[in-house]
Symmetry: C2
Subunit: 370 residues, 2 copies
């Protein structure tokens, strides 16, 4: 791979090797050249995990036992996602950065060696597979105390370019079938590092939820000749009362059948399959609506909201014309001192109960004064 390459929007990517063989990629907007060397001693990488079939629902479960010992809520002075400034040699060797993406040190999924194939999914006789795939960490800012909502529009534009670049590159790996960039924010959703960052999971199988979305979209297409998600967006635009924000290229809405007290879907008005398919105009219009949505979310109760923000995309190798790119933000915060938990009904039965009507939460989000 070339050490640096030009992407859209003036972004330059520089690739460097880490001490243990992983790769770190800097995404910069000011023409920086990155060369800081990882000074840490070499370290053996953990082995690959196991894929086991849960026969009762025919779904893969990843067994990654080596993750049990991973870093857990370190204090700021031991944060591995800060740039390397003092004595602590962090994951990022340089003394500053805009956006960086590096291979996860405790990956749930990793690149397989040699020939690789996923086992058939058959009842209780299936052999375990290897947990092939790729897990990357993406840092949004070198400011430990920041947040997505506090990024500049320009930084969000670089972030979007980095996400798109990762999707383009990971899609080329023959063992990768689905890519999900996501951000977990808040100790309430189990974040183990508070430094603003996200993750990119590239799966070697269709995640169960994607598999179901694809089957349902396929059925809808056979019944109507139309793409399901396009109909969903058309209905939200027509109903209007669940829309939270809108600009020339994007719309943000609380879905008609939201499952979480606060749930927002952000979709391009002209549908695309994945992040790599966004036009420059769509990409340039994203930071405005992304920041508005995140600031409205933090504004509802005047506190930093815990959330999970995930890019849903079409799978890499199938259903490219059936599933659509959208950014799904869900929050379990239902009141300042109260969370929604997935308990008996949701967890064991998959049956979601919502305490807040989507029209009501959309109204609360719209009412936030920015």
């Amino acid at each position: 791979m070339s050490p640096s390459q030009k992407l859209n929007a003036g972004v330059i990517r520089s690739d460097l090797a880490m001490a243990d063989g992983r790769t770190i990629r800097y995404y910069d907007s000011q023409g920086q050249v990155r060369s800081a060397k990882d000074q840490r001693p070499q370290e053996e990488q953990p082995g690959i995990g196991e894929l086991r079939l849960d026969p009762l629902v025919n779904e893969w479960v990843v067994m990654a036992a080596h993750r049990q010992g991973r870093v857990f809520l370190p204090p700021k002075e031991l944060c591995p996602l800060c740039p390397t400034i003092g004595e602590l040699l962090t994951e990022i060797p340089d003394s500053n950065y805009e956006i960086v993406v590096f291979d996860n040190r405790s990956p749930s999924l990793r690149s397989p060696e040699g020939d690789w194939a996923i086992p058939d999914m058959v009842g209780t006789e299936t052999d375990p597979g290897t947990a092939a795939g790729k897990c990357e960490v993406i840092c949004f800012t070198d400011n430990h105390g920041g947040s997505f909502a506090q990024l500049t529009a320009q930084r969000v534009r670089v972030l979007l370019e980095a996400w798109s670049d990762r999707v383009r590159e990971l899609s080329k790996e023959p063992y990768i079938h689905h890519i999900a960039p996501f951000e977990n924010r808040g100790e309430e959703v189990g974040v183990t590092l508070v430094h603003p960052h996200g993750q990119i999971y590239a799966y070697s199988y269709l995640p169960p939820r994607v598999q179901k979305m694809l089957a349902v979209a396929q059925l809808h297409f056979e019944n109507t000749g139309r793409v399901l998600f396009d109909d969903v967006v058309a209905r939200e635009l027509k109903d209007g009362d669940r829309i939270v924000a809108q600009n020339k290229h994007w719309v943000a809405f609380v879905p008609y059948a939201a499952r979480y007290p606060f749930e927002i879907h952000v979709a391009p008005l002209k549908p695309v399959a994945d992040l790599a398919g966004l036009s420059p105009e769509q990409s340039d219009a994203f930071p405005e609506i992304a920041l508005e949505v995140m600031r409205r979310l933090d504004g509802v109760f005047g506190i930093a909201m815990a959330y999970i923000a995930t890019w849903h995309q079409a799978p890499v190798r199938e259903g490219r014309d059936l599933l659509r790119l959208h950014w799904q933000i869900t929050s379990v915060r239902r009141a300042p001192g109260k969370l929604k938990y997935l308990a008996g009904s949701e967890s064991a039965m998959g049956a979601f109960i919502m305490d807040l009507k989507p029209e009501q939460s959309a109204g609360q989000l719209r009412d936030v004064v920015l």
Copy 2:
């Protein structure tokens, strides 16, 4: 309904009306006659919620906005599940009880009025349905500070009889299609009342997870002529290394592809469809293994474990020979100070990542000295 009736194992059930028209049922083993009157003023019951179709996955979501104001972690002296002894008039009018079951005051699902039918599930055009069903609360003991693990074997036997009785009776309602008795325990899983109790959700639709389990079991039956869950139990008995406890009629194991750090399935060795189908011998052998499993769970870290314990059963009106009764206990506690959270991969993608191998957690459970 008759005010009292005899069940198995010498259990007597007495039904009484509550002030607001709900019903409370006492299950007693010592021949008690219950007659304490609910002294509270009449209260209007909340309206019925809405069923909305999430078109992206073709699943119902219940909208029950009236639940937002429900009681949240009251102190012991205000506990609505304690018997009525002092001035506070609780949900249970009598001054003591063994097991009681009463209609939930803030039900997610409630009995429909008049003719009722669930709408078709079709794309984005589906009208909302009414959230028909029934939600009941089941209290395990009048001892506020107790727990399931601390119950006597005799009390667990009465509890099992009460569960079975509820399943038998609720199955007769024409609008009920699936019944799930469950217990949420611990603030970590969102429990709003600490008094030892469970809930019974009776759905007017097949919960999404049951729907998937049924489809997979159907396919397995077509492929093999065998019932999937029977094959699962046979494999666990053969492998042996994930078994946690066993007696003449039941086996408890960590499933091969467990999704939670601690997950135990308890199944009768002679399969049955639901709680109502258990033989007297099976029922009498349940308390021993149930208490052993719960005490092992609390023993792993020497702390009260948060868990969700759910009875999986065959649906009421279909798949009676395809799905089997089993008790699923899942805990998000992965270490004394650490929980497993359902974040980006699990929540948005449905792709579970496990940090602990099932053989390892089964070993930890077996090693607990009782």
